[in-house]
Every structure is written in structure tokens, then in C-alpha cells.
């Protein structure tokens, strides 16, 4: 970090100190989010596999849970580029969004042509480094969409970092 605190950085620091838990859109002191986008997707309009949906009870965004309370329904993915401008390693720990029932961090790995998608507990962002989420790599998985994601829509996600705290990002649906 050194002592190269620019006026802007001091300003940001002051704002953070003053506003406490309020979120700075798209960046924290050390974390910057760029190129946020989401894949367009359609939620299931009351016709998901496996049956008994309480139509109307929860409105358009309703969905049911299948065996063992596991989520079923339509999913989506948000991709962001995370840049850590700080001098210490950070990690993305979790994400949340009002667009989905559950939000998880996932990674897809290509194992000799077989794609394996798995949840991850965190995504490390090295000091001075960046993580570029993209199809076939890391993504923020939206499980159980509450609404359609149509091109031109925005999806708000809040990303929680180990050091950088919470950072909000606005993902453009495309």
C-alpha cells in the first residue's frame, strides 16, 4: 500500500469512515469490480419439473424445493472481473442478489472435454492481481431465479470479500 494515498483515496476512506457499512458501488478501497454481466435466462413460469407448485402463493417468482429441500428451477450466472489494488491478498467469500433464491460461487473445470461445475468456498484474489470470471471458469451462480433475466436488464449482486468487505456490482444482462 505504501504511502501513496491520493486525494481520491483519502476521500474514499473518509466516506467509508463516515458512512460505516454503506456500500461503495463497484469498488472498495482495494477491490474494483469491472465487466460485470449476466447471461440472459428465463425462469420457469410455474411449470418446473417434478410437479406441485403453489401457483400464485408466492407470485411469479415462486419456486418449490424438491427432495431434501434442494432447489429446483431456472438458474443464471453472473460474471465479473475482480481487481485487487491492495498490497495484501484478498478473497471473494460469498455473493448475494435479490434476483435469485440462493447465490453461490462456482467454478467449472474442463477435464479432458468433460465439464465439471462445483461450488467453491472462496475465490482468492492475489495482491495486485485480478480474477476474470468467464464461461467455463468461475461464475457467481444464481440458483432459483425470481425473474427472467432479459438482455438490457440489470442484476445487482453484492460481493463479500475477506478484507475488502462488501462491494456491490451491477451486472448487465446480455
Amino acid at each position: 500500500m505504501r504511502q501513496i494515498l491520493s486525494v481520491a483515496a483519502i476521500g474514499t476512506t473518509a466516506a467509508v469512515l463516515l458512512l460505516g457499512p454503506c456500500l461503495v458501488h463497484g469498488q472498495s478501497q482495494t477491490i474494483q469490480i469491472s465487466n460485470a454481466w449476466a447471461r440472459s435466462a428465463a425462469m420457469a413460469h410455474g411449470s418446473m419439473g417434478g410437479g406441485s407448485m403453489e401457483k400464485g402463493a408466492m407470485g411469479k417468482g415462486s419456486m418449490h424445493k424438491g427432495d431434501m429441500g434442494k432447489l429446483e428451477g431456472a438458474n443464471g450466472a453472473v460474471y465479473v472481473t475482480v481487481t485487487n489494488t491492495g498490497g495484501q491478498a484478498d478473497a471473494l467469500l460469498s455473493a448475494s442478489s435479490d434476483a435469485a433464491q440462493t447465490v453461490e460461487l462456482h467454478e467449472t473445470k474442463n477435464d479432458a472435454g468433460v465439464m465439471k461445475m462445483r461450488p467453491v468456498t472462496k475465490i482468492d484474489v492475489p495482491a495486485g492481481g485480478k480474477i476474470e470470471m468467464k464461461p467455463g471458469g468461475y461464475h457467481v451462480m444464481l440458483l432459483g431465479l425470481k425473474r427472467d433475466l432479459k438482455p438490457g436488464d440489470k442484476v445487482l449482486v453484492t460481493l463479500k470479500f475477506e478484507r475488502g468487505g462488501e462491494v456491490r456490482a451491477e451486472a448487465a444482462v446480455r
Binding site: 418446473m48 427432495d67 434442494k70 431456472a74 465439471k116 461450488p119 464461461p135 440458483l143
Partner: protein, 192 residues
């Protein structure tokens, strides 16, 4: 088989210069007839691969629960189709579910409509879907995974199988192949 190979060679000669070096995707040599199958559309209509002669078919095996690799591939193939312009109607994108349990006909209808109907979704009896996967060497392993709200995930092959207008399995596109390269190959197979 031998006669068939001769025919294939003749087709190659007639269509001109489509040699291995010109294709960007993985070329299958010798090419063979694409294994035929009969599955069901979300509207409940039968779909037979051999009924698509005269078109190039891009065959993809996936599941709608997948938010990442599957919609990415389908969106990219749709872009290829639009880049073909008027020839797009001779290019059929086919999505075969590897998850008949969750991918009901209703679910597939919605999925297709979310992609503006740019592809044909297919399902069928689990045994028949398994036979089809086996014929193409497609892997699909259901995994119950800790740490997710998803009841299960499916590890699956991520190649696009490309069938030429004569019904021969000619190319395999790996995941992430540039759209311009895929478009290039489809044009070659269409004789453009």
C-alpha cells in the same frame, strides 16, 4: 462401408477444396455416418436426426439447470446461425438433454423460448437418451455435491458434434472455440 467411403470421397471432390487443413474444428477422419437417433421435441413430436439431410446439424448435449457452459454454447451457436445469414435455415442447432429428470417438456419449451427458438431441444426415455450419448461417446455423470443448494449437478462432455448435409459426423468443436472459426467451418460444410 467401402462404397460409403467412395461416396464420401466423391462428395469431397464435388464440393471442392474442403481439406483437413481448412477446418478450424477437430476433423473426424475417416468421417462416418452420424449415429441416428429418434427423440422427442418439447411439443411431443418425434425428431429423427436422419430427417435433417441437406442441413448441417450442430449437436450439443447439456442440461437446462447448467447456467454456464450450456447457455454459453447455445448462445454462441445462435450467433453462428445469424452470421450465416440466409444460409442459417440450413443450419440446425440441436440440444439433447442429459437431465430428463429435471428437463421436462414444459421446462424445455421455456428454455427454447428464452433463446428465441434458435435451437431444437430434445428429450426422451432415459434409456434412449443414454443410448444416444453412448453412440456419440458423450459422458454425463450425475453428481450429488456438498456445498450447493442444487440437488445434483451433472458432469458432461462439452463438445459440439457437427454433422454435414449428407449425414456424416465430420467435426467436433471444443468449448470456447471462437465464433468466427465455427462459422467458417459450418460455411465450408454448407459448400459456401
Amino acid at each position: 462401408m467401402r462404397m460409403f467411403r467412395h461416396c464420401a470421397a466423391l462428395v469431397l471432390l464435388l464440393t471442392g477444396s474442403a481439406t483437413a487443413a481448412e477446418f478450424k474444428g477437430g476433423l473426424l477422419t475417416p468421417s462416418k455416418m452420424a449415429p441416428d437417433f429418434s427423440l422427442t421435441t418439447p411439443e411431443g413430436k418425434p425428431f429423427r436426426l436422419s430427417g435433417e439431410r441437406g442441413k448441417v446439424v450442430a449437436l450439443w448435449f447439456g442440461y437446462t439447470f447448467c447456467p454456464d457452459v450450456c447457455p454459453t454454447t447455445l448462445a454462441e451457436l445462435a450467433q453462428v446461425r445469424s452470421r450465416l445469414g440466409g444460409d442459417g435455415n440450413r443450419f440446425r442447432i440441436v440440444f439433447v438433454t442429459v437431465d430428463p429428470e429435471r428437463d421436462t417438456q414444459a421446462r424445455l419449451r421455456e428454455y427454447v423460448s428464452a433463446f428465441s427458438g434458435s435451437f431444437t431441444a430434445l428429450t426422451g426415455a432415459p434409456e434412449r437418451l443414454a443410448e444416444t450419448r453412448k453412440a456419440y461417446g458423450v459422458v454425463a455423470d450425475k453428481r450429488v455435491v456438498a456445498g450447493t443448494s442444487a440437488a445434483y449437478l451433472i458432469d458432461h462432455s462439452a463438445f459440439v458434434y457437427v454433422i454435414d448435409p449428407a449425414g456424416q459426423l465430420r467435426l467436433m468443436f471444443p468449448f470456447g472455440m471462437p465464433i468466427e472459426d465455427m462459422t467458417h467451418d459450418i460455411k465450408l460444410l454448407l459448400g459456401r
